[in-house]
């Protein structure tokens, strides 16, 4: 039986002390352990950025691809072996800047993949440029006079694209984050867990304290129903996207893998690839 320990390895992350990503790493390891998964049956695909290194910091199969393309790789992995638990991870620049196109399409495709975004509203690894989730007016190296672009709302974008599991966490609350990630993995379909994961080095605005002050836990709303898409959209607008918890869940929508014609339960990786003379001849006869 696997526990959180099995998902830990000896690599020391190259994140700054206090980085929000440590909590995401811990929450991922706990969630995987709680679900009693074996490390070899988990594949973590990540993009580029500080957070993209996470695929090397969890003891599982890890693939660290190019910038913004973790989701296409993750979907390819899932297609080849649908029995694997596939996680994709990266930062806000990776997912909502260079990779936004893939994100939208991954959402509407709805494969059974869990996507964890460590959103710090800044580019950290390249040393402090503004990101697609940086607020209007935000000052960064590339916005010395303040950001004149509107920020992306990952939550609204997800709901608009028809996401089937949407949650938002905060690195300060590892317990809640673990639950949300666990819920995402258990959910049959595409899930996004957007995590406020502060950059302690370059973002002096959106700090732990700032998030503590500005975010609201959805638990506080006794009558909030995450199965109600309309209510979810309203709540995201009402809180200006600064809410944590399970925002929306659709348990009805079928997953991509179940809709593919002829797709078998046995993973492709286990199939016999030989066509055989008889089938070969039959297919060739179509050209006669």
């Amino acid at each position: 039986m696997a526990t959180v320990k099995e998902f830990r390895n000896s690599i020391r992350p190259n994140w700054c002390p206090g980085c929000g990503d440590f909590a995401v790493q811990a929450a991922m390891q706990r969630a995987l352990g709680n679900l009693d998964l074996e490390p070899e049956n988990v594949a973590i695909i990540s993009g580029i950025g500080c957070s993209g290194r996470i695929s090397g910091y969890v003891n599982a199969y890890g693939f660290h691809g190019v910038h913004g393309r973790s989701l296409p790789v993750a979907q390819g992995v899932k297609l080849a072996n649908r029995k694997l638990t596939v996680l994709a991870a990266g930062g806000d620049g990776d997912g909502f800047g260079i990779g936004l196109n893939h994100f939208m399409h991954a959402v509407r495709r709805n494969m059974d993949i869990t996507y964890i975004v460590m959103d710090n509203q800044i580019y950290g690894l390249t040393k402090g440029q503004h990101s697609p989730t940086s607020s209007f007016g935000f000052k960064a190296k590339t916005t010395p006079a303040g950001n004149i672009e509107n920020s992306i709302s990952p939550l609204q974008v997800s709901l608009a694209a028809g996401i089937t599991y949407l949650a938002q966490g905060f690195s300060h609350d590892v317990n809640q984050l673990t639950e949300l990630i666990q819920g995402g993995i258990e959910h049959k379909g595409f899930s996004l867990i957007n995590v406020f994961s502060p950059c302690v080095t370059y973002n002096k605005v959106n700090t732990y304290e700032w998030y503590k002050e500005h975010t609201v836990n959805l638990n506080q709303f006794a009558d909030y129903n995450p199965l109600d898409r309309g209510a979810a959209i309203a709540k995201v607008i009402e809180t200006d996207g600064l809410c944590t918890g399970l925002i929306f869940k659709d348990t009805e929508k079928p997953v991509f893998e179940d809709l593919v014609k002829g797709y078998q339960d046995a993973p492709i990786v286990d199939q016999d690839l030989t066509l055989g003379q008889e089938r070969f001849d039959r297919i060739m006869a179509e050209f006669a």
């Binding site: 070899e40 979907q75 080849a80 492709i268 199939q271």
Partner: protein
């Protein structure tokens, strides 16, 4: 009696020109003739001139003919645009509906027959069958029975309704009779009897798709693009039956990254694209090279640069394919010459990709991808699946509980065993960052050199079998070097030049990477003069040869980049011209 005949049907895009050509080609292919059919089309759905030029022969051909014998026209534009291709004594059969006339520059003794295709079709049920009437008129000229296309129509419409088959056949017969009533016979157009052989008729893209299926492909992520889409369309029809799928991605970047993901997780996968998509794939090609993930990428070259000529022929991606992606990675590039070779090269590309664990590109050109060719049935016994070096159960059992699998352990030839996610004992890391044996980032100087040498060493001093084929004189006065579908027109030019007593050879390049320096060098040394023939403006193959150190005192470049493939006559005349100049 003619050993071969060249026929063309033309009209507006969207009025069934394509299907008329197909019915004609398939029917004659079924009768045992060899077909080579090349379509002229433009990048729009309806409207604009389109034509299908079909060569019917008693021997296998891989090129369009120099001149046209019969032109079937559904509008005046077809006659005006294509009339100059007719040989003296050729025939134009046109719909009386548009009062056809012959242009002033038409060859001597070309006759025009105005047949009311549309009217006859209407009398027989529907105007849409005008194509069938036209085919009937053709069959009379060629001395074919009016039911020559019965088998093809049966297989095309039989499942839908027997009545449609009968109606179409009546329309063909009516066209035949209308031509008969013109009061002329055409003994000079009669075709010699066909071979008794059974041929398949396919385009290069179909052959690639079929090859991929036979090689065990299960996942194809791709984005539609001319002229590559047929590969995905073929596999969309075939993969569900074997539990696989084609997934249409949001762009080519996703297509190749998804291909990489599926391959990493153990599936045989490919993607197919053309120039613009290839440009978008460049970063991921580097990722596949760096992570040693086997992928097969089909690049069907079309006219560039940028959007270029999406529906026209060119061979101008060679530099991009060979040198594309930043940094340095090993790459295998196969360049088949015929549809038959497309099949076997497709099968082999998956073996190479997995044996050498590097991106493998299969490049064609538009003529090869889209021209229909008669091919002899493929030999299944030649289809092998070799997945390359995979970790054995013993290998994995030896990995300690807290150790990582050495996925990038440097073995003698640089190839290390693969494992797939899901395998116990195989945990390792994969990254596009320079890494060590277990895939952990390692930017150390010594490690980088070691790993670069490991990856690049996989193809060092390798020349793959069949990289260069050769025909012609052993010590030729003129050596022609070419790649891709130019094989067809050059082969014919060679036959004619040899028949005229000239000493000519043709070295054809079938593998562009690793570049076959040795084989080409041997051929070049024995030739007095070398001409590199290719469909691009800058002479890419010519310069590649130089780049790889191949030199010759008399080496020249012959390029064509007007969007059309070479004709045998053009190559023949070029060689004759050069030989005359040279003998002076």
């Amino acid at each position: 009696m003619l050993q071969e005949l060249s026929w063309k049907v033309g009209g507006q895009q969207g009025e069934g020109i394509d299907s008329t050509g197909k019915t004609f080609s398939s029917s004659l292919n079924k009768m045992g003739y060899f077909i080579y059919s090349y379509r002229h089309f433009s990048s729009r759905i309806k409207g604009g001139h389109t034509n299908d030029k079909v060569r019917v022969s008693t021997v296998q051909r891989f090129s369009s003919a120099d001149a046209l014998d019969i032109l079937l026209a559904f509008d005046q534009e077809t006659i005006d645009f294509n009339g100059h291709e007719l040989r003296p004594g050729g025939v134009v059969i046109a719909d009386a509906k548009f009062n056809p006339t012959l242009p002033a520059d038409i060859a001597k003794d070309v006759s025009l027959f105005s047949i009311p295709f549309t009217k006859i079709a209407e009398q027989n049920g529907a105007a849409i069958m005008k194509n069938m009437v036209a085919l009937g008129a053709t069959s009379f000229v060629m001395g074919l029975p009016p039911d020559f296309c019965a088998a093809e129509l049966q297989s095309k419409f039989g499942k839908k309704s027997q009545k449609i088959v009968e109606q179409n056949l009546l329309a063909v017969k009516a066209g035949y009779e209308a031509m008969e009533q013109q009061g002329r016979t055409f003994p000079e157009f009669a075709l010699a009897p066909a071979t008794p052989d059974h041929h398949l008729l396919m385009i290069g893209n179909d052959a690639i798709g079929f090859g991929a299926l036979a090689a065990g492909v299960r996942v194809m992520p791709a984005y539609p693009i001319t002229p590559a889409s047929d590969v995905m369309e073929y596999l969309i029809r075939q993969l569900p039956a074997v539990g696989g799928l084609v997934i249409q991605t949001e762009d080519e970047i996703a297509a190749l990254n998804m291909t990489i993901g599926a391959s990493y997780a153990g599936s045989r996968t490919l993607t197919a694209t053309s120039g613009p998509g290839l440009s978008l794939m460049m970063e991921a090609i580097g990722l596949a090279g760096m992570t040693e993930t086997p992928v097969v990428i089909v690049d069907t070259q079309r006219g560039g640069p940028s959007t270029g000529l999406p529906t026209k022929h060119e061979q101008s991606d060679m530099y991009a394919v060979l040198f594309g992606t930043h940094g340095e990675i090993p790459k295998i590039v196969l360049a088949p010459a015929t549809a038959e070779e497309c099949f076997y090269a497709s099968v082999q590309s998956f073996n190479y990709a997995e044996q050498y664990q590097c991106p493998t590109l299969l490049i064609t050109d538009l003529a090869l991808s889209l021209a229909s060719q008669s091919v002899m049935p493929f030999d299944y016994s030649k289809v092998t699946i070799d997945r390359g070096l995979l970790a054995t159960a013993e290998d994995l059992a030896q990995v300690g509980p807290s150790d990582m699998f050495k996925r990038y352990e440097r073995l003698e030839n640089g190839v290390s065993p693969r494992v797939f996610p899901g395998q116990k004992g195989g945990l390792h890391h994969v990254t596009g960052v320079e890494h060590n044996e277990i895939g952990r980032p390692d930017e150390g100087a010594a490690n980088h050199v070691k790993m670069m040498d490991k990856r690049l060493g996989k193809l060092k001093d390798v020349e793959l079998p069949g990289s260069v084929s050769y025909r012609g004189a052993q010590d030729p006065d003129v050596l022609l070097v070419a790649v891709g579908s130019s094989y067809g027109p050059i082969s014919e030019a060679l036959d004619r030049l040899e028949a005229a007593g000239l000493s000519v050879g043709h070295a054809h390049v079938h593998v562009l990477s690793p570049f076959p320096v040795k084989s080409l060098s041997q051929r070049m040394q024995r030739a007095r003069q070398v001409i590199v023939v290719e469909s691009n403006a800058t002479g890419q193959l010519f310069h590649l040869m130089r780049f790889y150190g191949l030199s010759h005192a008399e080496m020249s470049s012959y390029t064509k980049y007007d969007g059309t493939p070479f004709l045998p006559r053009e190559v023949e005349e070029k060689v004759r011209g050069l030989m005359i100049a040279w003998q002076r």
